[in-house]
Structures are given as structure tokens and as C-alpha cells.
Symmetry: C2
Subunit: 190 residues, 2 copies
């Protein structure tokens, strides 16, 4: 079998130590016999506007995904209680291509628990018995790491999801859950 | 040309008046000559666990997307400053199939402005001159509605994004921006 290229999606691109974290992830992926592919920044100097730069990064990252065989998505909650939206787009993009998808989160609390926390426990049953927040929104509970389209898309393609439990100050540096999912991905792909 | 089926992605499925809002959206889509396709809940009684129910909804919504010709995604911020993660997955899913994608938001403030607000204005330049929040995360500014993968994926496929300005209590009921994007989608697709 030819080398298996794994696209590493996640909000690492926004970290101050992006290069260091991505290198650490790439090293781990290589140790398990897979070829890491990481998204990245396009050179700002080449684009007259920030919008065009964003378009160019989008094009490049899609091309990188097209050339990859599988995806590992970092779904650790990002600036709130849910995964990074760009990472979710990428997970859907790879799933539509029928490629094996894997994900992890460094947050132990699942989607339901995070939503309950978001509402400060102020969840009440409606007339139909459905739990809703003070804003009326349904507090869905599918025993999943995030929205059901993400974990459903992964598991229905034979992939897996790992939930770790990193300290608050190591949410984007702890690689324990990532290491575990790389092992699982390697076992499935190689 | 055969009927154009439009998948209407968005967090409407979590609203207390889901059926009413979805019916209003479907009516509008039909008025412009397109065929609306909406995600929905699977019957809970058929599944022994909530996890299995979630998997079934995921399967059904993917099938609905596979049978659709284009997508209109509601990227209005959901429980925080970013779009619903399931909607983002769906946008990536349809983009990977090369289908025309369109989106709207009822929030006038773009991604950059929402992130600045999230940090309460406490954004500082790092040694390289890049703006970062107190948590060190990059405050990206691509003049887009949300993460660049979303808007980039849409615009690079000839789609469009409309930002409305609904009142806080009408974020998920105001259909002005939706109406505008339906018009644009119909003009492109028919």
C-alpha cells in the first residue's frame, strides 16, 4: 500500500507556537508510519487584500485535503463551547470524499455537558418534554463530542473519536488524546 | 433544466418553533422556483440509545445532501461567536461534491469584529506584529463572515454570502438575509 497521507485539521494554526505544535504532531504521525499534511498560512505579501489572502489559504487547504487519504480533526472547543468552524468544514469536506475520518478533543466534557454548563444549569422541559435553554434552543444529547453530523460522519465511516482531559492551560498543547487517535488511525489505515 | 434541490442547513432544527421557521423558509424557496430540502429529526422511538439516534440523523441528513444540488447555510452565530458546527460540516460536505454553496448570517458584525468583542478589546500585537488575544490566539481578519474555509469554499465556487442585521431577539426568525440569498441562488441556478 502506498503511503497514507493524513490531513491534520485543527485550530493549531492560530497558536503563538503554531510551528512547534505542528512539528510535534507531524513527528508523532510519522512515528506511526503515516505521512502528515498540515494546513498553513499563505504568504501575506502576495495578496493585495486580506480577503484575497483568505481565499488563497482556502484554496490551498482544499488542495491539501484533496491530496490526502484521511483526516484527523482536533475538535477541542475553540473560543466557546464548540469546535473550530473551519475544522468542521474540513471534516465534512473529507467525509464527502469518502475518506476515513478521525477526531479528538482535549476537553473531557461532552457536547451535552458543555451546553448545560453554557446555560448555567437553567434548562427546562418544554410542553413536549424536550429540554431547552432560557433562549428556547434544544439541549440535544446524543452522547457525542460535538454536533451529531461531526461524530456521526466519522463513526459511520469506520473512524473513531477520542476525548482526552487536558488541563485548561494545555488545551492546545497536550498531545495525549492526539497520540491515541493517531494509533487508532494507523491501525485502521496501514 | 431539472428542478434544483436546495439543502437548507442551519441551527433552525434546535428552535422551539422549528416547524414554523422551516415552513416559512421552504415557502420562500419555492416562490423563487427552487425545491427546498430540510434536515430534520428522526423518530426517537426507533432507536434504543440517543447515540444511535444521532447516527441515524447523520445518515439521513447526508443522504438528503447527496440528493441536493446546492446548499444555503445559515451561519448566524450559535451559542457563542461562531456558526453552528453541524452546519459548517454540511457546508464542507457539499463543497467537496462541487455543488454551489451559499450562506447568510443574521449578525451584521463580521468574524473579526465578533472576535474583538469576545476579547473585550484586549488584543495586542506580538513580536511579529500579529494581533493576539490574551489567550495567545491569533485574531485573524480576512474580512469574512466566519472562518475563511467557509466563505472561501463558497466564493471560490461562485456562491455568495449575505450578512443581514437582525435584532437580538429575531436572530433565528428574521428572514430578510435569507430571502436575499435565495434570490441570488435562484439567479445563479435557474
Amino acid at each position: 500500500m502506498s503511503a497514507q497521507r493524513i490531513y491534520l485539521a485543527g485550530p493549531e494554526v492560530f497558536l503563538p507556537n503554531m510551528a512547534e505544535v505542528q512539528e510535534a504532531k507531524k513527528t508523532l504521525v510519522r512515528e506511526y508510519g503515516l505521512v502528515p499534511v498540515t494546513p498553513g498560512d499563505a504568504d501575506a505579501a502576495d495578496f493585495p487584500t486580506s480577503h484575497e489572502k483568505g481565499m488563497a489559504i482556502s484554496a490551498r487547504d482544499e488542495t491539501l485535503m484533496d491530496s490526502s487519504d484521511a483526516i484527523i480533526a482536533n475538535l477541542t472547543p475553540y473560543r466557546g463551547i464548540a469546535a473550530d468552524t473551519g475544522t468542521c468544514f474540513e471534516l465534512g469536506y473529507m467525509s464527502a470524499q469518502g475518506k476515513p475520518a478521525f477526531a479528538y478533543s482535549n476537553e473531557a466534557k461532552n457536547h451535552h455537558d458543555r451546553v448545560l454548563e453554557y446555560y448555567g444549569g437553567k434548562v427546562q422541559r418544554d410542553a413536549k418534554g424536550l429540554p431547552r435553554g432560557p433562549d428556547g434552543l434544544l439541549v440535544e444529547d446524543f452522547d457525542m463530542i460535538d454536533n451529531l453530523m461531526l461524530q456521526g460522519g466519522i463513526e459511520r465511516r469506520g473512524g473513531a473519536v477520542v476525548a482526552g482531559h487536558a488541563a485548561a492551560d494545555a488545551m492546545f498543547s497536550n498531545l495525549a488524546a492526539f497520540t491515541e487517535i493517531v494509533k487508532i488511525a494507523a491501525a485502521k489505515l496501514l
